[in-house]
């Protein structure tokens, strides 16, 4: 019993209780809120106040819920917000929907609508690496030149996931820049001379250049 009270299970149980308490107690009975409060405070999802008074310019049908077949909308001219790149092709309801007023989401920038696949690691300024035509990042070598580890020689040709194993999922947390972080297997294989036996296990840069790992260079 004493072991149980002082063991990991107790800590785990306490953590689980705390997590449940956060969800259950601080929620203050979420069912009491029958609808989101923005609905009362901010009006319709898609404000029509600045639109023409002639509904038939955009809508058709008795309920005015359907858009005309020839409906066009100059988002920049009508709202002052230009839709650029891939956003120009987006369906209206991808942004103007039941989640809430688009003002709220637009104010948050890209993260208002897009998942942060980087898990918050890289901040909120998506435009540093991405542009609106495509989500393929650009100018990564230039960005790396500002890091602790500018990519020299052959390093500039290595695929990102060789050093950032989570790159496929957008995880680019900085690695420790020591050579062995990536070249641990190479160190183990270096037998001429036997690096590990001789204690050559760090500061590889004293003998090796980043242009080629395979052999040391000298005058």
């Amino acid at each position: 019993m004493g072991a149980l009270l002082h063991g990991r299970r107790l800590r785990a149980a306490l953590f689980a209780c705390a997590a449940i308490a956060v969800a259950a107690c601080m929620g203050a009975d979420p069912r009491a809120g029958t609808r989101h409060r923005w609905w009362a405070g901010l009006g319709p999802v898609l404000p029509h106040e600045s639109f023409p008074s002639d509904c038939a310019l955009c809508h058709e049908g008795a309920g005015w819920n359907e858009l005309r077949v020839d409906f066009t909308f100059d988002h920049a001219a009508e709202t002052g917000v230009a839709l650029e790149g891939a956003h120009a092709q987006a369906q209206c309801l991808r942004c103007h929907n039941d989640r809430g007023p688009v003002d709220v989401f637009a104010a948050k920038g890209c993260g208002g609508c897009h998942d942060d696949v980087h898990g918050g690691d890289l901040g909120n300024d998506c435009a540093r690496c991405h542009q609106q035509e495509s989500w393929r990042p650009e100018a990564q070598l230039e960005a790396h030149a500002r890091s602790r580890f500018p990519l020299s020689g052959a390093h500039a040709r290595v695929a990102c996931h060789r050093c950032h194993p989570g790159a496929f999922a957008g995880n680019f947390v900085p690695n420790d820049p020591s050579c062995v972080t990536c070249h641990r297997d190479d160190l183990a294989r270096a037998l001429n001379p036997p690096h590990v036996a001789l204690g050559y296990v760090d500061r590889c840069d004293r003998c090796h250049l980043p242009t080629d790992w395979r052999q040391a260079e000298g005058d």
Binding site: P30, R37, E49, P52, R146, R157, P165
Partner: protein, 596 residues
């Protein structure tokens, strides 16, 4: 004779001259729209009820082309006919315009109802807090919208005061208040999910990249293809089905090659809308409330509280973030609470806890706190901190509590497109059994390794005739300190439209390398294509290397071209060449993407 001649001249002139306007009376712009058009003539959606009179001058602002002017030739209560000066001009429907009218002609706003008669907010709906409306929205032009629309039960600020920037009254006409027997404009009837048709959207993409390096003679190639789809309201409940499937094939430079078919996402989410306070998502997905906790194979629940805050919890397995997203090794339980200052959500704070079990054993215990503040004026402040809580089984760390990651970013976006950002980043490596988040470190490095970085960057109006940009950063880690500085300018590229030339110089002191160089590049784009090319020359000096061969002069050329079509097709190609010493490396890539 002279007097009669003068009289004869002045009378016709007086007759054809526009009616004099009292100089002391202010003029206001009456916004209007074109409802119907024939060559040289349009019908606008404003009439005598809005203050228009016969002979008033009207200016139209077509989206393309120069403004057009005309004169009101016929006026009714709600509409007016405008005869354009250019009798051959054809104007598109909904074209905006305005008429300048004396302020006295505008209809008076209806008197405000006594406060005692204002409908009380419903018990379950909290009263709106002050400053609910984001201030970033540009102020509306004076808009003399027809205040005489007595059937409009929800007068707006535009109706109430044509020229005064009055605060918009709180929206009180709730969804539940709408009755189909009411006039159309009496209330707003949102279309409920069951009234909407399902919508599908798809994206297909593929890319191929190849590369070769002369030094060592190695090559590698990667081919990727993916499909993701999204079905909204598939079952009439407003839910969203999302699926992402990716096929990867790679031949690494060491000869390894692998083919992976990975479901990146397969989830169904419902709720979390104005119709449903609770939100659920099941399947494989990125956690919605706290994306910092990563992808999940499991279930997440979230809810809006009566006060508008959000509470959430999630349970399931964490896929490893490698190329095959292996799962069922790391179980996690998480809970979060997000506090929102008001409806605009411009100030929010989140606290969250996550506990993981690796292969059934307790692993990482992580606390997360983050704050986001979006005050007006283009400011953006964001802070997040990851705190690892260690217990007796975490013997590689010399502390029980460690901040393993922290971000602080304060930035401002200016109206002209310029920006200024200050960011601080701290990274350390948590002790955990879970694999794949970062490359494994030995025990000493795991305890000592860290990175602290402070960055200041800014740029002026990117569309100006001479724009400048710069970045200054410094870092400190367990081995030492360093930093980088970069500055440059960009100008419109002569002989090209929508293209700019950029010249940047940079210097950097890294852990092992000191770099000095510059790059010259050009970028052009319009609605259907984007291209860029760049040349970079830099000297990479290896600081620890003890011979005279420590200088590597590296040239880099890069070019890319992308095409976009209205049908959602994107084609992009890129090529890059690097030359240093007597060696070279090149790479090329092609990508196709189609959204439909």
């Amino acid at each position: 004779m002279t007097a009669s001649w003068l009289l004869c001249s002045l009378v016709p002139a007086a007759l054809i001259a526009p009616a004099p306007v009292q100089e002391s009376e202010p003029q206001v712009a009456l916004e209007l729209r074109v409802m119907a058009a024939t060559p040289g003539r349009v019908i606008v959606d404003r009439g005598s009820a809005d203050g228009l009179k016969l002979g008033d001058r009207v200016q139209l602002r077509p989206r393309k082309g120069k403004p057009l002017e005309g004169r009101v030739g016929d006026v009714r209560e709600r509409v007016a006919t405008v005869e354009l000066d250019d009798r051959s001009a054809v104007v598109e429907l909904a074209t905006r315009g305005e008429a300048l009218l004396p302020a006295s002609r505008l209809p008076k706003p209806p008197p405000a109802p006594p406060a005692a008669e204002a409908p009380a907010p419903p018990a379950e709906t909290p009263a709106p807090k002050p400053a609910a409306k984001p201030a970033a929205k540009p102020a509306a032009k004076p808009n003399a919208k027809p205040a005489a629309k007595a059937d409009d039960a929800t007068p707006t600020a535009d109706d109430a005061a044509p020229a005064a920037p009055a605060a918009k009254p709180a929206w009180t006409n709730r969804d539940a208040d709408y009755d189909p027997s009411q006039p159309l404009l009496a209330g707003l009837s949102p279309i409920r999910p069951e009234q909407r048709a399902p919508r599908w959207s798809h994206r297909l993409w593929s890319s191929a990249d190849v590369g070769h390096s002369s030094e060592g003679g190695w090559s590698d190639s990667y081919a990727r293809a993916g499909y993701d789809t999204r079905a909204d309201n598939l079952f009439g409940d407003g839910g969203t089905l999302r699926a992402e499937l990716e096929l990867d094939y790679g031949t690494e430079f060491d000869g390894d090659h692998e083919l992976d078919l990975t479901p990146r996402r397969l989830s169904y989410a419902w709720g979390g809308t104005r119709f449903d306070t609770h939100r659920f998502e099941v399947g494989r997905f990125l956690q919605h409330a706290v994306p910092e906790f990563g992808f999940l194979d499991g279930i997440e629940w979230g809810a809006r509280t009566a006060g508008g805050d959000r509470v959430g919890a999630s349970f399931g397995f964490l896929p490893e973030l490698d190329d095959d997203f292996g799962s069922f090794h790391d179980l996690q339980l998480a809970a979060s609470y997000e506090w929102l200052a008001d409806e605009s959500e411009r100030l929010a704070a989140t606290a969250a806890l996550q506990q993981t079990w690796h292969e059934g054993e307790l692993d990482r215990r992580l606390a997360l706190a983050k704050v986001r503040w979006l005050p007006s004026g283009g400011w953006d402040a964001h802070a997040a901190v990851w705190i690892d809580l260690y217990d007796g089984n975490d013997d590689l760390k010399s502390t029980n509590v460690e901040v393993t990651q922290a971000l602080l970013a304060i930035g401002r976006r200016f109206d002209d497109g310029g920006s200024l950002d200050l960011a601080y980043q701290h990274v350390a490596f948590p002790e955990q059994e879970r694999a794949g988040d970062f490359l494994p470190l030995d025990a000493a490095a795991l305890d000592r390794a860290h990175l602290d970085r402070l960055t200041l960057r800014g740029r002026s109006d990117p569309q100006s005739s001479f724009a400048v940009h710069g970045e200054l950063s410094g870092f400190h880690d367990q081995e030492g300190s360093g930093g980088a500085a970069e500055g440059g300018f960009d100008v419109p590229l002569p002989l090209f439209t929508d293209a700019r030339l950029d010249v940047t110089g940079f210097t950097s002191k890294g852990s092992f390398t000191r770099v000095n160089g510059f790059r010259v590049g050009a970028i052009g784009h319009d609605g259907s294509q984007r291209w860029d090319c760049m040349y970079e020359l830099a000297n990479h000096r290896q600081e620890g290397f003890s011979s005279a061969l420590d200088d590597i002069v590296q040239h880099r050329f890069f070019a890319s071209q992308s095409f976009f079509t209205a049908g959602g097709l994107r084609v992009a190609a890129r090529v890059e060449l690097k030359v240093w010493d007597d060696e070279y490396a090149w790479s090329g890539g092609l990508s196709l993407e189609r959204s439909f």
